[in-house]
Symmetry: C2
Subunit: 408 residues, 2 copies
Amino acid sequence: MNFADRLNQMLVLLGYVMVDVAVIGAGQTKFGNHKLGLKGMWAEAAENAYSSVDLDFEPRQIDEAFIGSVAFGGSQLGNTAALLTEHSGLDGIPVRRVENACASSGFALRDAWMAIKSGQADIVVAGGIEKMNDLSAERKRFWLGVSGDTEWERLAGLTFPGTYALMARRHFHEHDSSHDDLVHISVKNHMHGFENEHAHIRKQVSFEKAESGFMVADPLTLYDCCPTSDGASCVILAADHVARQFTEDPVWIRSSGAASDRLALHDRPSVTQLLATQKAAKAAYSAAGLTANDIDLAEVHDCFTIAELMATEDLGFTDHGQGGVFAREGRGVRNEGAVCINPSGGLKSKGHPLGATGTGQAVEVFKQLRGTVEDSRQVRDAETGLTHNVGGSGATCAVHIFGRERNG
Amino acid sequence: MNFADRLNQMLVLLGYVMVDVAVIGAGQTKFGNHKLGLKGMWAEAAENAYSSVDLDFEPRQIDEAFIGSVAFGGSQLGNTAALLTEHSGLDGIPVRRVENACASSGFALRDAWMAIKSGQADIVVAGGIEKMNDLSAERKRFWLGVSGDTEWERLAGLTFPGTYALMARRHFHEHDSSHDDLVHISVKNHMHGFENEHAHIRKQVSFEKAESGFMVADPLTLYDCCPTSDGASCVILAADHVARQFTEDPVWIRSSGAASDRLALHDRPSVTQLLATQKAAKAAYSAAGLTANDIDLAEVHDCFTIAELMATEDLGFTDHGQGGVFAREGRGVRNEGAVCINPSGGLKSKGHPLGATGTGQAVEVFKQLRGTVEDSRQVRDAETGLTHNVGGSGATCAVHIFGRERNG
């Protein structure tokens, strides 16, 4: 133990805290249509996370839990966090549900990270869950719809595909982009997800097929829209001073950035940029001392292909307005571009169980950085990864940066 | 600045954090039946909190927000936190909804407190909101009901009054207690709330009247049950190193304790004790270096009078089994007993807008400790206060201790 480590340990003991946060385990269910109920799905995701911890670990060592879910109460069950706690060996600890539309578990992750950094907890679970297919078509529309603006958009008939279609049309108008660029994104994400055993839609899609999908909201076709999935995901975080008890191979959370924006499109200065993403990314890069150039892989929130196109710009992987060129040139393809965008298949192929999506992204990054995904899916030399989880049509956003290395 | 302060400042600058958390402002709407919608109620509570800050303060100085709500999606609106953000001058900051049944804003407060202790934010809002009277009778029953156990209790017909009636019957069976003791609690809380301008039900109730209320769930009558209210509440927290910019009279959060328990009564070793309350209280007392004897006033979660009786035991104000005697002897009456229980009138009189209740308790304690409640309601020599917020029939609990003094 060198002098800095000794000083750090002494100060931690005195109550002065400067804690780095490690991911020591992560797991999820397959995303898709589940026969398992909510409790069974959560238990499976938690068990997969527990068993991914390398060394001796018992769930009763967990101090606190944060669980993201949007429509949990849309089923017959409630008091989500305490209910799931019972079914995953987490007896008696402080637990709560975090709800932030489709960014629910991105914020659960942020809050779990802060709980450890506060010095109040050493081992914390962040997770998420959704069972979309338990909901009636009407309730499903409701829970998706209320995440955007209600008074000016939803109640006037604008659904999410329509919202993102407006963004796409405007992007095509302002910049060098077209629907073909979105098709490239769809084809890439289906290719990435094809070999992911946890993905909802595992099929290769040709450019011609994705180009001629049936129209959902012009210009977005079926191949531009993610499915609504069932699923659960769970990550286990630990403070630096205990992490080595559980693994010799931790992944570090180098930073967390988050932000919000107006719900309604007409209240924003631009509909081709998500300010919440830009702010969250800026905060995360700054805290980690990194730039977009340092990121090897990114799980971005592609609820629609245009959302991924915009995310590549807002996260700084390409310049504003250049997202179409980025997609067309295949710069997000695994082991071909400088950064792999959505190695899991993204929401488009891996699936989108609203509350489970954010920590699901973290599961993928954890496995990629540890080299434990299927060989054919492995991003080579992956040292640094990013997750990007969006709520509504950009009203909230959480960005996390993960690394094999701790901050310098 | 003495040596310890200098050392502290130096370590904070170096990234070593040991932050005490102050409440610098707090406000709420009246609880009751509101004509204002959700956004208007939140704006009013936030404005009342902002204007309670003594020195120059702008909402744009706030770094992050945590907002508790249970049934928000039961209205036509969603994406709660971002939506409310727009209506209270909090543009662009990280915000999320915290949902934990009736303990939602007790946990929002805990999470806001941890955000500051993590060193990631200096000024954080914790709040809560609910508009019960926007919900149909059916949806109201649903949102209340799902907070308890569903599969063995709710779907078998057991509603919350029934759950707490079981606890009361068992307490009367095991201990020296009877329904008369519950009547004393009801009379006290109505007396305390009578002069509270923010209370839902402002009327004095005689022992005879409360004794003969119509039966809801034997032995609980109307006078044993809290109303369901509309309302919003908001507290502003600040890190010690910035708090003095905003007030020379901060109230300190001395500690936060929280816990969970099984949802179903049959899964607990006793139905006359809430283990989650006991654990949360133990953690809070221990972290503050205090005992129940040090508490001058406590806002406890009296959704039913029997819940207050049990809370006086579980929080250590009297021995286990002695809650009936405590109530009967008037030991929780303002300026008569050693501790004032529910100076606001509690859920029984002040009202219970689910998600707004936890931070509403904190508003009362803040004002009592600063001496800014109505003169007739002032607890004399109030130095230390406690809030106790319960979710479901005891599945989750958050306890906070507030003081004029910081921890020693």
